[in-house]
């Protein structure tokens, strides 16, 4: 279900001065700052707006915020609170002398010391209890000056020496885009670099128009290269960022909303489409009326009723990057439509199929059918003559088509379901 981990937010070690906020207007919850990482983020689960922490009372409860089950040790909330309080005293006692040490030593002690007083093996259900030792409202500032950085999944709190600050990230982004435009680099390299930029932004809690730009660019790149997993991550984070209306650009927002609807069609999530539709109709009329969004919504309607005629027609008209999303589910839809057609026609001309499914020409239709195994059902009337008519014996092909369609329904999308 919810996989929020209480990741650590270390204080700028050695300095007590409060750091200036990096254009950060919202006090976003720091709990999920590192859950941007691919393995940790549950795919296509839209993260709800996390509660704002503004009082200690709520703070304590929020530490166990997503632990819905009763503590298996049978410990109640206040007993746990007492225990955590006790640990905190221990941690503080251990921390204060070490603060005078150099940053690396303390960092290494906190990251890798397995026997720190905070660990309590007697209660294995306790949250990774280092979180309350760190002040969540201070975010780190990076000091690394390299413009290139390969992505490495974080397993502990980030090291400021490896995190790039804002201006370096902007430089890095510009360099990457230049390389991409000149086609000097491959997608894996770009993806890797972009992930590193995203990580640095997340860790420093930078959430401004630049962040939105980075995510949008990466999302588009992922779509172009058919990387749906990466695309979904960018998409979920983007929509969280979009909740802050100041960061939204209307055309981009509409564009990505249309992609989101296509993604829901791909994952067959009708109720999500319906609630999105309601939200748009009630609160965001302009976005609702956007042509891209309307196309995607009509597409979802057509899919509901199995109206393949409308479906294929709209698919043909989608020329933006949504094409790549459509390619992921088009074959299943073609099989479904073929199933309907074979059940309701006795014979169906290939030209009819070409028109309905918007294939480029009759030969492609033939190739497609042969590939799926319909070779024996393709018959020709008056071969060689001018009124040659190639058709599919629909009645006979019924069995095969329904078997194929059932099979295609069971395929999960690259392990993302």
């Amino acid at each position: 279900m919810d996989s929020s981990y209480n990741f650590v937010q270390p204080i700028r070690l050695g300095q007590k001065k409060k750091q200036p906020n990096n254009n950060n207007n919202n006090n976003n919850n720091n709990e999920q700052e590192l859950s941007d990482l691919p393995q940790l983020q549950k795919l296509h689960k839209k993260r709800k707006q996390v509660p704002i922490q503004n009082s200690n009372y709520l703070n304590n409860n929020n530490n166990s915020s997503n632990k819905w089950a009763l503590n298996s040790m049978g410990m109640s909330d206040s007993e746990e609170r007492r225990r955590k309080r006790a640990e905190r005293f221990n941690t503080n006692n251990n921390d204060t002398p070490s603060r005078s040490n150099s940053a690396e030593v303390t960092a290494s002690r906190n990251s890798f010391d397995p026997l720190s007083a905070v660990e309590d093996y007697s209660n294995l259900n306790a949250i990774a209890s280092k979180s309350q030792a760190y002040d969540k409202n201070k975010h780190i500032i990076g000091t690394c000056q390299n413009t290139e950085k390969s992505y490495l999944r974080l397993t502990s709190e980030p090291n400021p020496a490896l995190v790039r600050p804002k201006h370096i990230l902007k430089k890095a982004y510009d360099i990457l885009m230049k390389k991409h435009n000149k086609k000097h680099v491959t997608y894996p390299y770009l993806c890797d670099q972009f992930k590193a930029i995203r990580q640095d932004l997340r860790v420093q809690m930078i959430e401004n128009k630049f962040t939105v730009l980075v995510y949008e660019t990466h999302a588009r790149l992922a779509l172009e290269n058919g990387d749906l997993g990466e695309y979904n991550q960018c998409q979920s984070r983007l929509f969280m960022l979009y909740e802050n209306k100041a960061l939204r650009d209307d055309t981009n927002y509409a564009e990505f909303t249309s992609y989101l609807i296509l993604y829901y069609i791909l994952t067959d999530d009708t109720s999500a489409i319906m609630s999105l539709r309601l939200k748009l109709m009630q609160n965001e009329i302009k976005v609702f009326k956007n042509s891209l969004v309307q196309k995607s919504l009509n597409l979802s309607d057509a899919k509901l009723t199995g109206n393949y005629h409308k479906f294929m027609k709209i698919c043909d008209t989608i020329t933006s990057l949504g094409k790549h999303l459509i390619n992921a589910f088009i074959e299943k839809e073609i099989l479904r439509s073929l199933n309907t057609i074979c059940n309701s026609y006795n014979q169906v001309g290939l030209d009819f199929l070409r028109d309905e499914f918007h294939f480029p020409n009759i030969d492609t239709v033939g190739l497609f059918l042969k590939r799926e195994g319909f070779e024996e059902f393709i018959k020709t009337k008056n071969p060689g003559k001018p009124n040659q008519f190639v058709y599919l014996d629909a009645k006979a092909a019924k069995m095969l088509v329904s078997v194929l369609y059932q099979k295609s329904k069971k395929i999960d999308l690259k392990g993302q379901k």
Binding site: M281, T305, N339, S344, V348, E356
Partner: protein, 450 residues
């Protein structure tokens, strides 16, 4: 029930709060003890005999006194500023939450008797969240989530009771808390949590060794309203989220049959879902007389406030549903499209109630009826030209109709869907642009086919 009624029925008595725990029983006074929404403290005096009761019970008692005193002072002040109201409600929430926490911990050691009072307290918290909504526009989700956590605690302590004694086992009260959880998740609009809840309950009901009793056999057999609520929520889940209309119809039917006639708004809500699902799953048409009896005479103004959901529901049932059922019977596809797709306010109504998908699927039935009528008007000839089907839509319209291939193709596709779903026995011929139906029973009775 007015507050005056309550005070009349209560005898002036003194009750020892600790007695309930000592003797392990609960009665109406204990329930009244927690009903904060009534705003007037009960006239029975509650006390706590300190010698036997433990710490938590003492705390519950003290909290209760504080809460009641807060309530009475707040409501005795004539003019209450917004800030004061907000502060009051927040404090009240914190206190009731704390009390529920304590009661949960107490309940873990107690048996079935404590469940209904615990449920009443939990319900208070949920009602308070509703109140908070008026005073607090942002940050409401924190409160709803906190409420959810506490209620979930109660839910798990009911569900996980392994007491072999069926009369003491807390499992029978689990449905009370399931209803509260449904309500909270709907407030949060969190479909995943609802799915999870249903999954958990279902797996427990089908458990091989210790199956959970059905709602009918649980504590809800005494509290009929809870059973109706449970059936309604389950029906709504299966219909709107799973699109499994048969199961949805089963549950909603039970809810409708169980709901007493006096509860108009509940009946409305049930009917709003029951009618489309009944049509889709069993082709059951609501008798026109029933709807007229319930909603016929009232002609509500068309500019009624949309926010007043009760009135809106009634209006929708009385006018919109009547029209829709008429379209289904007469196959008036044009009017149906108008009602469902083009009128925006209707669309929003359907979306709000999770009925958009059902309405799209219902269109097929309307189209089927339409085709059937054309077939009959055409003297039951087995070959039906598609043009005829297309033109008939514009019957009565004065302007000239152009028949485009595009329109015919689209119609062909819709008919193909009907045939492949076995609603029509026949086949299409693209070359001849016609539909050929079988000589015998081309429009099978769908109830039998199902």
């Amino acid at each position: 029930m007015a507050n005056e009624d309550f005070t009349m029925n209560e005898m002036k008595s003194i009750v020892d709060f600790g007695d309930y725990f000592r003797d392990k029983y609960s009665d109406d006074s204990l329930v009244r003890y927690f009903q904060y929404h009534l705003r007037k403290e009960s006239t029975t005096l509650y006390m706590l005999n300190n010698e036997f009761q433990d710490d938590k019970i003492k705390q519950v008692f003290e909290l209760n006194q504080r809460i009641w005193s807060n309530i009475t002072t707040f409501h005795s002040v004539p003019e209450r500023g917004k800030k004061m109201a907000l502060q009051y409600h927040k404090e009240l929430f914190d206190m009731i939450d704390e009390q529920l926490l304590l009661m949960n911990r107490i309940a873990e050691r107690e048996s079935r008797w404590i469940l209904y009072p615990l449920f009443v307290l939990a319900r208070e918290l949920v009602m308070l969240v509703k109140e908070l909504r008026k005073h607090l526009s942002f940050n409401l989700t924190t409160y709803v989530e906190r409420c959810g956590r506490s209620v979930h605690r109660s839910f798990t302590l009911c569900l996980n009771d392994r007491n072999p004694n069926k009369l003491e086992n807390r499992r029978s009260g689990v449905y009370l808390f399931i209803n509260l959880e449904f309500k909270i998740y709907h407030k949060l609009n969190n479909r995943d949590m609802i799915k999870n809840l249903v999954k958990v309950v279902k797996s427990r009901q089908e458990d091989r060794f210790e199956p959970l009793m059905s709602c009918h056999e649980s504590l809800c057999s005494i509290y009929n309203s809870q059973e109706v609520t449970y059936n309604y929520y389950m029906g709504q889940y299966y219909g709107c989220i799973e699109n499994n209309y048969e199961k949805a119809f089963e549950y909603l039917n039970l809810a409708y049959l169980g709901c007493n006639d006096g509860y108009k708004s509940q009946l409305n809500k049930i009917l709003i879902l029951l009618i489309p699902f009944g049509l889709l799953s069993h082709r059951k048409l609501v008798h026109q007389g029933l709807l007229s009896k319930l909603y016929g005479g009232k002609k509500l103004k068309s500019n009624v406030n949309q926010d007043n959901i009760y009135e809106n529901d009634e209006r929708m049932l009385g006018q919109l549903y009547k029209e829709i059922i008429k379209c289904c019977r007469t196959g008036n596809i044009v009017r149906y499209d108008n009602l469902v797709t083009i009128t925006k306010s209707n669309q929003i109504f359907f979306l709000r109630n999770g009925l958009y998908v059902s309405m799209q699927l219902l269109r097929e039935l309307v189209l089927l009826r339409y085709v059937e009528i054309i077939y009959q008007l055409n003297e039951k000839m087995t070959i039906i030209p598609l043009e005829m089907i297309y033109i008939a839509k514009f019957y009565g319209q004065k302007k000239k109709v152009t028949i485009t291939t595009e329109a015919i193709n689209e119609l062909e596709c819709e008919l193909a869907c009907l045939i492949s779903k076995k609603m029509i026995k026949g086949y299409l011929s693209h070359g001849n642009k016609c539909m050929v139906v079988s000589k015998t029973d081309p429009f099978p009775n769908l109830k039998i086919v199902k």
